[in-house]
Symmetry: C3
Subunit: 351 residues, 3 copies
C-alpha cells in the first residue's frame, strides 16, 4: 500500500508535452498527463470511464482529451463533455482527475483525498529554475520499491562502499551525521554531515578550481514519503565553511533526489545536481550530469539486486546497525503517515 494524502512528483515539466500525452503509472494507477491551451499540466486517470481504453492513445483537443475508441470527450476536470451519437451526457459521467501543481520545474500530483490537497505543503526546489543556479534534469526507472531507495539516501555510509571512485571517500564509512527529526506536519528529517580536513570525492575533483584538502558538507532535508533536498559542497580547509562562510572558489551544489512509487516493486526517480558557478558552461552542465548518472547507476545496480533478494526471502527481518539511524527515522515517519491515513479512513468509514 502507498501513502496517498501527499504530493508526489509525477514528472519534470518537459516530460509533459505541449502536444500529445505522457502516460505514467503512479501508485499502481494509470495516469495520463497533457497540457491545456494555457499550457497548464492536467492529470486524469488514464482509463476512459466507458470501456477502460487508455486516454493516452486518444486525441488531444485543446483543453480536452478524446478517447479514440468510441469518441467520448473529457475536459481538464475529467468531466465528460461529449458522447458521440448521444444528445445528453448523464451527470457525473467523468474520469478521475487529480490536483496538479507545477512548481520549480516539477509537476506534482495529489492522489489522495482532494479536499486535503494544500499546495503550500510542497517543498521548495528554487535551484531548479533560479537564474543563480544551473542544472540538467534527470530521471531513472527503478526495479525496486521506493523505500529501498529512501534507505539508500538516508544512510550515506554507503558512499564509501558503493561509490568509492565517484561520490564517496573512505571517511564516509565512519562519519556519523547529525540527524534532527521534526514531527510537525507530515514530519521532516534534517541531516548534516561535515567532513573536515578531508579529500574531495572524485566528482568534486573533476570540476574543482582548486586542489588540496577540503572541508566538505552534505546538509539535507528529507520529507516523507520520498523527497530529498541537499546543500553539498567542498571548500578549501580553514576558509570558514563550517561557520557558514563560502569563499568564491568553494564548490556549491544543490541536489535533488525524489521518488514516486510506480508499483510495489518499481519506482520513478527524478534527480538533478545544480551548481552556482560557470553557469553558462554547457559542457560543464553535461559533465556534471553524466558524472551523477554514473554514480547513480552504481546505486541502481545495488538496490535492484537488493530488491531481488528481498523478493526471494519474504518475511526475513533486516538487522539494524548504528548507521541506520537516518533510515529508521524515515521509515518511522512513513509508517506514522500510513497509520494516520488508515485512521482517517476508519473515521470516515464510521461517520
Amino acid at each position: 500500500m502507498f501513502l496517498r494524502n501527499c504530493w508526489y512528483v509525477a514528472a519534470w515539466d518537459i516530460e509533459v508535452p505541449r502536444e500529445g500525452f505522457l502516460a505514467r503509472t503512479l501508485l499502481g494507477e494509470p495516469v495520463v498527463f497533457y497540457r491545456d491551451t494555457k499550457g497548464r499540466a492536467v492529470a486524469l486517470e488514464n482509463r476512459c470511464c466507458h470501456r477502460a481504453a487508455p486516454l493516452s492513445i486518444g486525441r488531444h483537443e485543446g483543453d480536452c482529451v478524446r478517447c479514440m475508441y468510441h469518441g467520448m470527450k473529457f475536459d481538464a476536470s475529467g468531466a465528460c463533455v461529449e458522447i458521440p451519437g448521444q444528445a445528453v451526457v448523464p451527470p457525473n459521467t467523468c474520469v478521475r482527475s487529480y490536483p496538479v501543481v507545477e512548481r520549480d520545474r516539477f509537476v506534482w500530483i495529489w492522489m489522495g483525498d482532494p479536499a486535503r490537497a494544500d499546495a503550500s505543503d510542497i517543498d521548495d526546489f528554487f535551484w531548479h529554475d533560479s537564474p543563480e543556479w544551473r542544472m540538467k534534469p534527470g530521471y531513472i526507472h527503478y526495479q525496486a520499491n521506493y523505500k529501498l531507495i529512501v534507505d539508500n539516501l538516508l544512510d550515506f555510509t554507503h558512499l564509501a562502499w558503493v561509490h568509492p571512485t565517484t561520490l564517496g571517500t573512505a571517511s564516509a564509512a565512519e562519519l556519523r551525521p547529525t540527524i534532527e527529526r521534526s514531527t510537525e506536519g507530515r514530519g521532516r528529517l534534517s541531516i548534516t554531515r561535515w567532513y573536515l580536513d578531508d579529500e574531495m570525492p572524485a566528482l568534486h575533483r573533476r570540476v574543482a578550481r582548486f586542489s588540496g584538502k577540503v572541508d566538505r558538507w552534505q546538509v539535507y532535508q528529507w520529507t516523507p514519503p520520498a523527497t530529498l533536498r541537499m546543500d553539498a559542497g567542498s571548500a578549501p580547509i580553514g576558509t570558514g565553511a563550517p561557520e557558514g562562510r563560502r569563499v568564491p572558489e568553494a564548490l556549491q551544489f544543490r541536489h535533488t533526489s525524489v521518488q514516486t512509487p510506480e508499483t510495489e516493486t518499481t519506482s520513478h526517480y527524478w534527480f538533478c545536481q545544480a551548481r552556482n558557478f560557470e553557469l553558462d558552461n554547457d559542457a560543464l552542465t553535461e559533465q556534471i550530469y553524466d558524472d551523477v548518472v554514473v554514480a547513480f547507476e552504481e546505486d541502481r545496480r545495488m538496490i535492484e539486486a537488493q530488491q531481488k533478494i528481498v523478493s526471494q526471502t519474504p518475511g526475513r527481518p533486516m538487522l539494524p546497525i548504528a548507521a541506520d539511524a537516518g533510515l529508521n527515522q524515515a521509515r518511522w515517519l512513513i509508517d506514522r503517515l500510513a497509520r494516520q491515513e488508515a485512521a482517517a479512513l476508519g473515521t470516515e468509514g464510521r461517520s
Copy 2:
C-alpha cells in the same frame, strides 16, 4: 471461466497439417490437432495420460499419435492402443478426445459435455468455399480476453474513431443500428446498419468500380460466444440497395470474425473478407486481405491497450452509453449461457 457447451472455431482447415500436428491452447486447455489417414481432423488433449508429455512433439502414425517420451500410442478416439513393454492395455487408458466438425473451411471443436454436441448448431459460412465467393483466410493472436473483442465487433461507432482512414467514415459515430435479439437456442443478435447517401470508406474506394456517393450496409448476425457473419457493401445511391436490389457494380462482401478464448487474457481470432466479384483476380484477393489486416491491427492496438488497463484496474466498473446496446445484449446472451451451464452442472451434480 469459459462457456464449454458450444462449438468453437479451433483452426482454419489449412492450419491442421496432413503430416504432423497443430498444438493450440483453447479455453486454457492444451489441445493437439492432426489428420487421420482419410484426412479428417482429430482433436485430442495435448497431454499424454502417462506423464503429461505433449503429444504434439510425438509421432503421427496413420490414424494414431505416439507419445515420443515412453512410446504410448493413441488412436483418433483418444484410446490407448499400445504401451510398449506391456502386453495388456488396461481399459479406459486414454487421453481426452474432443468432437470435431470440419465445415466451410473451419475446424470446429466441442469442449463441453460430448452428449450435447450437435453439429446442426454450427453457423453457416458458405462464402468460405463457395465458387461464387473468394477470400483469403486470416488469423490474429490477441493479448486480450475474447469478450473485449466481442465488444468491439458489436459497436461499430468505433469505426469512426479507430478506423477513420480504413473501414470507417465520420457517419459511423452517430448512426444507430437496428438490433434484433433472438433468445431461441443459444440466442442470436441481428444488427443492421444502413448509411444512405454516404461516402465510401477508404477500403471500399480502393476496390470500387464506380465513384460518388453510396448507399452502404453492414448487416450481421452474431451468435454467442463469439461468431460474427456479415453481409456488407456499397452500391451507387438510388439503385435500390436498401430494398434488396444489388446492381452489378455494387460492392458485395461477406465478412467473418470469430474468436476463441486461449486463456483469460489471450484469444484466437479468425477472419476473412470474401467478395463476389473479380474472383480470379489474385492480386485483388491479396489487396483486400492486406487492407483488412491494416484495419484489424488498428483494433488490436486499441483492445490490447484496453486489456492492460482492465488488468491494472480490477473491479472498476464500465459505464454504459447508448452505443453499447449491441455489446450489452451480447454480454447478456453470454451470461445467460453461463448461467445455463452452471445450472446444468448443478442438476447433474445432484442427480
Copy 3:
C-alpha cells in the same frame, strides 16, 4: 517444498572460483560460494543480514566476504566480524552458513538441520578424479521440477523414443530392468539392465574399437533426492560381460547424473561420462562430452515441454504403466523422506 536434511550437489569444484563468488539459488534460497585462503569452499546465505544486499556483489577479502553496500564483513562461519563506524559487533550478528563438503570434484551442501549433517552419507563418485578414469564435467540448467528429471532417469524405456539416434536402441522400449530397493538409511535403488546380443547405441559405435553385436549393460544406483551413479558399457558378445569379465576392448563408462532444485519449476543438473580407455586422448574426451550433450538436450526438450503441460493442467493425475516401477519407487523414497522430515519437525516443535 523440498527435502532439506540431505546433501545436495551445489557445484563442480571449478565452478567455485579462487577469486570472487559463485551465486546460486538452491531450494529457493540465495546462496553465495567462495573459497577461503586455504582454498576450501564456503557457502553462506547470499543475503546480508543488515539490508538484504547480495554478498555475491560484495568483496572477497581472504577468508571473509564484505558486503559492498554498507561494508559489513562476515567470516567463513557467517559471523559478522566488522560493522564500519560501530565499535562493537553485537553477538549473533551473522548470516546463515551451510555445511559444505568438497569431494570427488563436487561441492556438496547441507541446507537442513546442521546437527544432522554427516559427510559419511555422501555418495562416492571416485571416477571423477581417479587416475584410471577420464571425464569432462557438465552442467545443464532446466526449466522443470527436479522430480521430472528423476522420473526420466529411472525409466530407461525412454531411450528408445527420446534418443533413437544417440543413446538408445529399439530394445530399450521392451526391456524390463531388475530393480532392488533398499530402505536402509535414506534408501537406495539398484537398477540393472542387460541387453544381450544387441546392437550398440550410436554413441557407443562412435567410440568403439570393435564392431558387431554386443552384450551391453546399465547398472546404476540411485539415491534420493536425486543422485544417479552408473556403470555402463558394451562388450563383444560371448566374452563374459554378464558374468563380470571385461575384455580389454570392452567399452566401460561411469556415468554421473545429479540434480538439485533451484525453484519448484527450475533445476540444476550436473553430469559426466567417464571412461577408462584412451585416457590421454583429449579429442575423445571432448567428443564423448559433446555426444552426451546432444543426447541430454533431447531429454531437456521433452522434460521442459512436459513441465509446461504439468503447469497448465494442475491437479490432473498421471497414469502409471508397468515401465514406471523405477520412478514410482524413487518417488516413494522421496516421499518417505519428506514424511520423516515433517515428523521430525513436529517432534521438535512439541519438545
